[in-house]
């Protein structure tokens, strides 16, 4: 009985296959459908995907950043004390979804008003300020040799923790003090060097410059080691 049914089923199947083969797809049909399918598929998928992935294409493929590459003023070096790092608030002009700078100016709707502020920690390496700092007042200009000396002694650190990006703060519980991340307890010393906790590396430091007016300037650029994006660059991605 069972095998009879089985045979019948197979015969049915063979018949149906024969039926289908009467109206076979020719090579031309196949290629035509393939081409049509590819073109239609591309028209339907490329625009929305490219639309949504705009930031990835702009930043990762074309290498354009929506953050301005201009130098931003942080503060005067005389404000940094020997004992503790000093925090400064900075803002980088961005052109994210409100159009370029000209359009922002014309419309009066500027992104810089809403931009998330970044904090920078300035400190003297190993608590050792340069020799000329004694007596330097805010606004005093400095000489070229003093700039060189200060540049070698200064730490310009992003306050974004190298673990998961929470803002670190300077705390003194015992001894000299340390940078402590409130989220998961990452600890760094005054130079931003990793001491304890989950961070995989030292704190990020900005690309900086000290000018003759005694002010420190930074770019939205960090000491991330170069490598193949996504494979050998360092994580986490610093925002």
């Amino acid at each position: 009985m069972g095998s009879d049914d089985d045979l019948k089923g197979r015969l049915e199947g063979a018949k149906r296959l024969a039926e289908l083969q009467k109206d076979r797809i020719t090579r031309g049909d196949f290629l035509g459908f393939g081409l049509l399918g590819a073109v239609t598929g591309a028209i339907l998928t490329i625009p929305p995907v490219a639309f949504v992935l705009t930031p990835i294409i702009k930043t990762d493929v074309l290498g354009n950043s929506d953050v301005s590459e201009e130098w931003v003023e942080v503060g005067h070096i005389s404000e940094i004390t020997k004992e503790a790092p000093k925090d400064f608030t900075i803002e980088f002009p961005i052109t994210q979804s409100y159009g370029d700078k000209k359009i922002q100016e014309e419309s009066g709707v500027s992104e810089t008003d809403y931009n998330v502020r970044n904090a920078v920690w300035l400190s003297w390496r190993d608590h050792e300020p340069p020799s000329f700092i004694e007596g330097l007042k805010k606004g005093d200009s400095i000489t070229q040799s003093q700039i060189e000396e200060a540049s070698q002694r200064i730490n310009v650190l992003s306050n974004s923790c190298a673990h998961l990006g929470c803002p670190v703060r300077w705390v003194i519980t015992e001894g000299e003090g340390e940078f402590l991340c409130p989220c998961h307890g990452g600890i760094y010393d005054i130079n931003g060097t990793y001491v304890a906790g989950p961070p995989p590396r030292d704190m990020y430091s900005y690309t900086y410059e000290i000018r003759e007016n005694g002010n420190v300037y930074v770019k939205h650029e960090f000491d991330v080691q170069p490598g193949i994006p996504g494979i050998s660059t360092q994580e986490p991605y610093v925002i």
Partner: protein
């Protein structure tokens, strides 16, 4: 008088139900959708799925209401949430339901999964429903994550920073994930817009069909037991319901008490 009104009402409603059934089959659908045999032991544990469904429905309803006042821009987001909480009538209630049911949703999903796991309800022929359940879990996690930033307060903001950076540790695609979520090189207006779009349209639109498939597969295979056993139990349930109905009709016609003792 009251008896006449009652009989007329029941006539009318019966007519409407019949009319609808004839044209849409709604009664049959509801019957299939609402009845579900469950094991006698641990009956309450089988309500966890329904609890999850209820909480998700609450999310949809209160979410729609919140959109009447919420403004997804960096300057106005926090203020609009403040308006909802302090000035809109019942704003605290609506947002409170959205907030607390989101929290409890994660808990009920966890319990629901635990129940499914320990009762072995993920086994054949229900493997696919487990997989779809996991997809639903991930979508809900995505919704919780994107909803957190929308308040644009310190709490939600830093939680999102942490979340985005966790994504940046992903092998190979870390940087791309960061740029996709952030919408650029730094958190700003684009980030809020993207999280809003993902939270309010993308993920709810994705979750709805999966809920539908989840429920369809549940009704197809039932809560427990193998395929055959289930059909068996369901037919027994139907039989019992029919017998009870017959009994009721007979009793009504005879006019005797429910135990039928006076019937001689």
């Amino acid at each position: 008088m009251i008896g006449r009104v009652r009989s007329q009402t029941s006539e009318a409603s019966k007519f409407i139900v019949d009319w609808m059934e004839h044209r849409t089959g709604i009664v049959t659908i509801l019957e299939h959708a609402l009845y579900e045999p469950v094991p006698k032991r641990g009956t309450w544990l089988y309500t966890l799925g329904s609890a999850t469904l209820l909480l998700i429905s609450l999310q949809f309803l209160t979410g729609i209401l919140l959109l009447f006042y919420y403004v997804p821009t960096t300057t106005e987001a926090w203020n609009s949430v403040y308006y909802i909480m302090n000035e809109a009538y019942f704003g605290q209630l609506i947002r409170g339901i959205h907030y607390w049911s989101a929290n409890f949703l994660m808990a009920t999903i966890g319990l629901h999964m635990a129940r499914t796991f320990f009762s072995g309800a993920y086994k054949s022929p229900r493997e696919l429903n487990w997989i779809i359940g996991v997809i639903l879990l991930l979508l809900v996690v995505g919704l919780s994550f994107t909803g957190y930033l929308l308040r644009w307060d310190q709490d939600g903001f830093w939680a999102s920073v942490v979340g985005i950076k966790i994504g940046s540790y992903s092998p190979f695609v870390g940087g791309y994930i960061t740029h996709f979520l952030v919408g650029g090189d730094t958190i700003g207006p684009a980030t809020l817009s993207r999280f809003f779009a993902i939270h309010v349209w993308l993920l709810p639109a994705a979750i709805a069909p999966f809920i539908g498939i989840h429920l369809y597969l549940l009704r197809r295979h039932g809560e427990f037991g193998s395929d055959i056993e289930y059909t068996d139990r369901l037919s027994k349930l139907r039989e019992r319901q029919r017998m009870e109905e017959y009994d009721r009709y007979e009793l009504e016609e005879d006019g005797h008490d429910e135990n039928g003792r006076d019937r001689e």
